[in-house]
Symmetry: C2
Subunit: 312 residues, 2 copies
């Protein structure tokens, strides 16, 4: 594993991919590797990109990655969105473009399943961000669908969060109101070549104006991945937000939230492993489950009992 971490630190894509697989499989060696890599992390800027399906996030990311590459930046992309071409979903044309991108040694793409991740997706994402960071990526982009609590949890690890919408997507603004508003640092209205763009921008603007007290006024950036428009403006806005969070200690605050979430998630996970590894506790769980199934005990009382046996 020492050899592997050394290779990860040089940015070797095969080593990165292998270590991520170890992390996903909860290989105990991965923990040792993560401990070794940790002092080398903290340099990359993490960008979360979220938005409903059909908002063209992937094409946008493709354009964004291309533009960053021209600026000489190394990019890591973590795709959580199951409909993303990065994740093997979506249409063939998109997928071909992604393959194109992935042959560039300055780009590392990893798709992570929302299903089947042993021990929870959130922790694995934290680790992958740290791995890509230690491997020298300047920018790490996490692509998620803007639904589901996991997705919102994942966005918490980002320094800059971009919420993507499109004109005329029914109640897009409604959805944003419902929960994405507070996490958006930048709004992107993609497919800006479509009719209804002015109205969508105006609706978003009134949302932003309502939230008048914030020091950072969430900018609204119209883009058209198809027509290669607005990407430079988006990059500029990401840069401005980066400067803003570093000037205002928001950067430290967000990192702190991220590490707290990561720490608590590790504790949660390890507690269950501890229970399952201890023969006596495991038997107690078994007895409780039998009682719960027979309605002789409720789950809350059972949890109390097990915690009493578990905690100091």
């Amino acid at each position: 594993m020492t050899d592997l971490t050394t290779k990860v630190l040089t940015g070797d894509p095969h080593a990165i991919a292998r270590l991520i697989t170890h992390v996903e499989n909860q290989d105990p060696q991965a923990i040792t590797a993560m401990k070794t890599l940790y002092p080398h992390t903290g340099r990359a800027h993490v960008v979360g990109v979220t938005g409903v399906m059909g908002s063209g996030k992937s094409s946008l990311l493709y354009e964004l990655a291309q533009s960053y590459r021209k600026l000489g930046k190394k990019i890591g992309i973590i795709a959580i969105d199951p409909t993303s071409p990065f994740s093997g979903g979506a249409l063939l044309g998109d997928r071909i473009r992604m393959t194109e991108l992935s042959t560039d040694p300055g780009v590392f793409i990893r798709s992570m399943g929302t299903r089947g991740a042993l021990g929870g997706l959130t922790n694995a994402v934290y680790d992958v961000v740290d791995i890509l960071d230690a491997a020298g990526m300047d920018l790490i982009i996490i692509e998620t669908v803007g639904v589901g609590q996991d997705e919102v949890e994942i966005v918490k690890v980002a320094d800059t969060t971009i919420v993507v919408t499109v004109p005329g997507l029914g109640d897009a603004v409604q959805t944003i109101k419902a929960g994405l508003m507070e996490i958006a640092d930048i709004f992107v209205v993609n497919k800006a070549d479509r009719p209804g763009i002015e109205q969508t921008i105006a609706e978003l603007q009134s949302l932003v104006d309502l939230d008048g007290d914030r020091d950072w006024k969430t900018p609204i950036v119209p883009t058209s991945a198809k027509e290669h428009k607005g990407i430079d403006s988006l990059i500029d806005n990401i840069k401005q937000h980066t400067t803003f969070i570093h000037q205002t200690h928001l950067y430290e605050d967000r990192r702190r939230i991220r590490y707290e979430a990561e720490l608590f998630e590790l504790i949660r996970k390890r507690v269950i492993s501890y229970v399952l590894d201890d023969e006596k506790l495991k038997n107690q769980v078994e007895t409780c489950l039998q009682k719960i199934c027979g309605r002789e005990q409720d789950p809350y009382t059972a949890a109390d009992e097990i915690l009493n046996a578990l905690l100091k």
Copy 2:
């Protein structure tokens, strides 16, 4: 709270709604109520309905609920899908129909946010299922979007899981292959009036045929909520699946998985509360976080330290 639980047991919708709010707010009184209600649970059949956005799940649920009402069944609907009209998303016409449904005293509808649920959505859903069960609902339907780990976790509480797709939805079958296949007890191809229906059915059929070893052959039910077609066949298939799981002990197995998940989730949650309520542990977390932010300690080592102080 005793008064409230008594009222919940009579099926009083206001009492049900109030208790659910207590549960969502993690009101300590809610735990007492849940303990009291628990012996009265275990009778309702729980149906999970999942599928991509745009598959017309909500219209289908509307038709399904209407038909069950004609059979004299009491129905609880838990909408997790943020785009669902039950959750306040989607189009006005749909929402009007839902309002119509919700004035029927035999139907209880509750929308639950995937965002902002204190202490995690999954646990709250377990509790709401138990509340509706204790309140005398015959059938509890949980509607989710088929993406995100939380959604799949939620489906785990269901006795029967229905995966909804529609003809011509790009890589719909691809998505199902990727993760929904193993959780589907019934496939519904909604909007069966659309072109491409035969092909979608054929593709699904070949997926089902591949999975040849299972005792339960996942049926494929074409429906058209718009034309009120296929609903009776769907109800019939749900009934057959219900009989099947009771005959094969699959019912007990699934309930056991559900209670185990519920129990572990409670333990995870309580451990973190325990840490935060203990001044000494809280300070230790604080010290660790400072070290993590300063790259003097990695999160894994920090978690080890805190667990050592925490566990017997």
